[in-house]
């Protein structure tokens, strides 16, 4: 369980990273907290030629909270975001979801943007980014661009980041004024990969619902005129559309059932 040999590039600035990326392209991989990447390196599931360590770049560890929402720099640790009082006030849903991201030890090292870049279909942070209609800002030697969550997270471990780009920040918008949010997750043990994770925003009878762990990327849907009578049928339809899959931890049916049952429970809580 050792990684294949690689060169380590310790970057001092975003420009260092983008210039290294433009010369190495897909042969390079960015490392910040290493909580997903190191396991994959050790199992030799991935063998990049160059690792670019961004953890020492000054200024990337900023969390800023304003009226639009929470902006998180590329090296902000999950634990720092979870402990941030301003975030807790602006987006309590984000703080709650972070308690389900791995374990205390992995959150101490793992970064928020690293989790987004990894794009595990069952991960909580991509789920919230999609639910909230957030975005990711990418930098390359050509300049910067901001990509909406749903355009960024396009499949299993797959994002629309180009090989010459790095994430510099992610933006989690506040939930609309007067709305209520809720979160549910089902995992074999606390901190395991979610079998199904769900989050929602309810305002009046309009509900935005996001589902993780069932399709190959988190999916959000907008439901209008939701009532306790119509909701079960809508959740059933969504469950069948996403289908889910069997693995050794749960069946596809179980994943659909969690959409129906935890989804109902969660949305009724948010609408109450």
């Amino acid at each position: 369980m050792k990684p294949a040999p690689f060169d380590l590039c310790i970057a001092d600035s975003v420009e260092d990273v983008t210039s290294a990326l433009s010369s190495h392209g897909e042969a390079a991989r960015i490392i910040a907290g290493g909580q997903s990447l190191m396991a994959m390196l050790n199992m030799r599931l991935t063998e990049p030629e160059v690792l670019i360590d961004i953890s020492r770049i000054p200024g990337l560890d900023r969390i800023s909270v304003d009226e639009t929402g929470v902006t998180v720099g590329a090296t902000v640790r999950q634990a720092s975001l979870a402990a941030h009082d301003g975030v807790r006030q602006a987006l309590p849903l984000l703080t709650e979801a972070l308690t389900h991201v791995g374990h205390i030890q992995t959150r101490n090292r793992g970064t928020v943007c690293g989790s987004l870049a990894h794009a595990d279909p069952s991960a909580e942070l991509p789920l919230l980014l999609v639910l909230l209609g957030g975005s990711v800002t990418l930098a390359s030697s050509q300049g910067r661009r901001t990509v909406a969550a749903e355009d960024f997270l396009i499949g299993t471990l797959t994002t629309s980041r180009r090989p010459d780009e790095m994430i510099v920040s992610a933006h989690f918008p506040r939930a609309p004024a007067g709305s209520k949010t809720a979160f549910r997750e089902m995992a074999r043990r606390h901190g395991d990969f979610a079998i199904v994770s769900l989050a929602c925003i309810a305002r009046g009878r309009d509900v935005r619902l996001a589902v993780g762990g069932v399709a190959d990327a988190p999916v959000a849907v907008d439901l209008t005129n939701v009532t306790s009578e119509t909701l079960p049928a809508e959740l059933n339809a969504l469950a069948w559309r996403l289908r889910g899959y069997d693995d050794i931890h749960a069946t596809a049916r179980y994943r659909r059932e969690m959409i129906r049952r935890l989804g109902l429970d969660m949305i009724m809580e948010a609408m109450a």
């Binding site: 994959m40 599931l45 074999r188 079998i195 190959d216 059933n236 069997d246 059932e257 129906r260």
Partner: protein
């Protein structure tokens, strides 16, 4: 099966399962009890353990909680489990696998030899070499205590070394660390060796102190006369004499102090002609009960209360005993709820990492009620001690499964009690899919699943080109090299046989594979079968697929179905992500096909997820 056998018999007889269990227990005055298969169950007071457990675990209250939960429509059950816990295996028990004739030919096998060496060095330090190889059970502590007590020296004067080397240390067939042999056997050998050291040192001291050796007291690092405590010698001084002054020793005594004890129990006799065997020397007793509630919505178990009681004879060290119970319980909880070796039909191991082979961690290891009960010493071990570590391995999975069976009234319970499995036990058929709207039909065909032994997929895509054009593209190796995701080279060996190198993967997981592809049943321009294999460091796969072309208005619908068998690293550790990965690769393949076969048409962006989102009314 035994787990619900008792429950089933109780049900058939209309009896309470615990009453039935109690009725069948050996009575306290029947020990040692010879069981029909040959076991000589040494000692116990099972009735007292059960009574203490019911009282301290508050069984009556638990039953009230169950009744109240059931009255409120919740799923709540109580489970019981009892175990006779054998320790120190008889080395002859494996011979019961053989026939009587084979046994006679091989010669008798029996016993379970334990050994220990104790030395006292010229400065009076005591060294103990045991025959156990612990992984954290505290055997060094227990041995040091036993020897320190026997020799009357401070605990920290005794050093225990359990790094066994069979070339220079004491050992025999049964040496090692298994089958709970430490408490009954290794400690008996240590006790015997310590007694021999004490006898020898008493003889030496006796000569200097002019007191008969049997009247000497070993205490606090001193050897003194029982009748006159003023008449005494330091322990270390007596030890030193054996090394520094052999001439001072009683006549005929060997110099130095090093005693090796080999110990065996005569009760461990060979297998009889009738295949009877006393498989172990000491038999402890464990009794557990628990109350469990099942969440109907998720299939999760909530353990309301777990009570566990153990009689392991003399308790050598209460802290170590508690550690054994907690550790064994946590491990058994893992076996009950999480742990499972899962293999694919081709032998690929699917639970080979701790992300897939789940064990109970500190978060899951709930705090059981540990009952204070009797300790009935074993008459067959030197200290009366029996094993304790394995009890919960027998009782806990059974106890939890019985509670689930009681909660939901089924008798086909299997462990691990995973939420998905429990969910299906407590819920009926799944709600069917709603009737699909016409525009969802195509979507529903994009189906990839990795449920059985193979990754299967099917789907279709529309290519705005003629069937001939698409066919030509598919049959042209240069075109295919451009279409197959990550294709580095593709060589045509014959019209229907290609080899090449493909670099593919999902996200950062990428591997290089040697591909061997054959085309069969070519029906120009309507269908073709494709078989092939990929071999690379990340794994191997072989698959079969069929592509069908149906011409329609403005183009051709290309339909495909395939089944791929995967093995190797990716299949073992990436199962959770494989269907998504396959979907991405298939999408990539068809996007390229559209681009190559109909170069003037802008291909549909976003793939399946984009279409799905568009249809589900997401923001995009």
């Amino acid at each position: 099966m035994p787990r619900w056998l008792i429950a089933q018999v109780a049900k058939d007889l209309g009896r309470d399962p615990l009453d039935l269990m109690e009725q069948n227990l050996i009575q306290a005055d029947q020990f040692p009890y010879r069981a029909p298969a040959g076991a000589l169950i040494d000692s116990g007071n099972y009735q007292q353990v059960v009574a203490d457990t019911k009282a301290q675990g508050k069984l009556a209250e638990l039953k009230q909680r169950r009744d109240a939960a059931r009255a409120a429509g919740r799923l709540y059950g109580i489970g019981y489990a009892m175990a006779v816990e054998p320790s120190q295996s008889n080395m002859g028990y494996i011979s019961t696998l053989k026939t009587k004739e084979e046994r006679e030919k091989a010669g008798p096998k029996d016993g379970a030899v334990a050994s220990c060496t104790i030395s006292v060095d010229p400065l009076g330090s005591v060294s103990v070499v045991g025959d156990s190889t612990p992984q954290g059970q505290g055997h060094q502590t227990a041995l040091a205590q036993i020897v320190a007590d026997e020799l009357g020296v401070p605990f920290d004067m005794v050093t225990v070394n359990l790094e066994t080397d069979t070339q220079k240390d004491n050992w025999s067939i049964a040496a090692g660390n298994y089958s709970c042999r430490f408490s009954p056997a290794s400690t008996s050998a240590a006790k015997t060796a310590a007694e021999r050291v004490r006898s020898k040192m008493a003889l030496i001291a006796s000569r200097f102190m002019n007191v008969p050796p049997e009247e000497l007291l070993f205490k606090d690092g001193w050897i003194s006369a029982q009748s006159n405590p003023e008449n005494r010698m330091e322990f270390r001084r007596v030890g030193g004499l054996a090394h520094w002054s052999p001439s001072s020793l009683p006549e005929g005594m060997d110099p130095g102090i090093r005693e090796v004890a080999y110990w065996n129990a005569p009760e461990l006799t060979p297998t009889t002609a009738k295949d009877e065997i006393n498989t172990s020397l000491a038999y402890g007793f464990a009794f557990d009960f628990c109350g469990v509630e099942i969440d109907r919505n998720t299939g999760e178990l909530r353990i309301d209360s777990y009570v566990t009681a153990h009689d392991c004879g003399t308790i050598l060290n209460p802290g170590l005993a508690e550690g054994q119970i907690r550790g064994s319980f946590a491990s058994a909880l893992g076996a009950s709820l999480y742990e499972e070796f899962v293999y694919k039909s081709d032998g690929t191991f699917l639970s080979g990492t701790f992300a897939d082979y789940l064990i109970a961690t500190a978060h899951e290891a709930i705090d059981p009620v540990m009952v204070e009960t009797v300790a009935t010493p074993s008459p067959f071990t030197r200290l009366g001690a029996k094993g304790i570590a394995e009890g919960n391995q027998y009782t806990t999975p059974v106890c939890l499964a019985n509670a689930v069976a009681d909660a939901i009234g089924r008798d086909d319970i299997t462990v691990p009690l995973t939420p998905a499995k429990v969910f299906e036990w407590v819920n009926g058929e799944e709600e069917p899919a709603p009737q699909l709207a016409a525009d969802d039909e195509a979507l529903s065909e994009d189906r990839i699943d990795y449920s059985g032994d193979a990754l299967r997929g099917q789907g279709s895509t529309f290519v705005p080109a003629s069937a001939e054009q698409v066919w030509k593209t598919l049959m042209d190796p240069a075109e295919m090299a451009a279409i197959i995701p990550g294709c580095k080279s593709l060589d045509k060996l014959s019209d229907d046989h290609f080899t090449g190198v493909v670099s593919m993967g999902v996200g950062p997981v990428k591997g290089t594979f040697e591909a061997d592809i054959r085309l069969e049943n070519l029906k120009n321009p309507t269908s073709a079968d494709i078989t092939g294999s990929l071999i690379g460091a990340l794994g191997t796969s072989r698959g079969r697929g069929r592509v069908t072309l149906v011409e329609g208005e403005g183009g051709v619908t290309v339909s495909y179905e395939y089944a791929i068998h995967l093995s190797g690293t990716v299949a073992s550790v990436g199962g959770r992500l494989l269907s998504g990965a396959a979907k991405a690769l298939v999408n990539q393949f068809f996007r390229s096909l559209v681009r190559r076969a109909a170069p003037n048409v802008k291909s549909e962006a976003g793939g399946l997820m984009g279409r799905l989102r568009a249809r589900l009314g997401g923001k995009k």
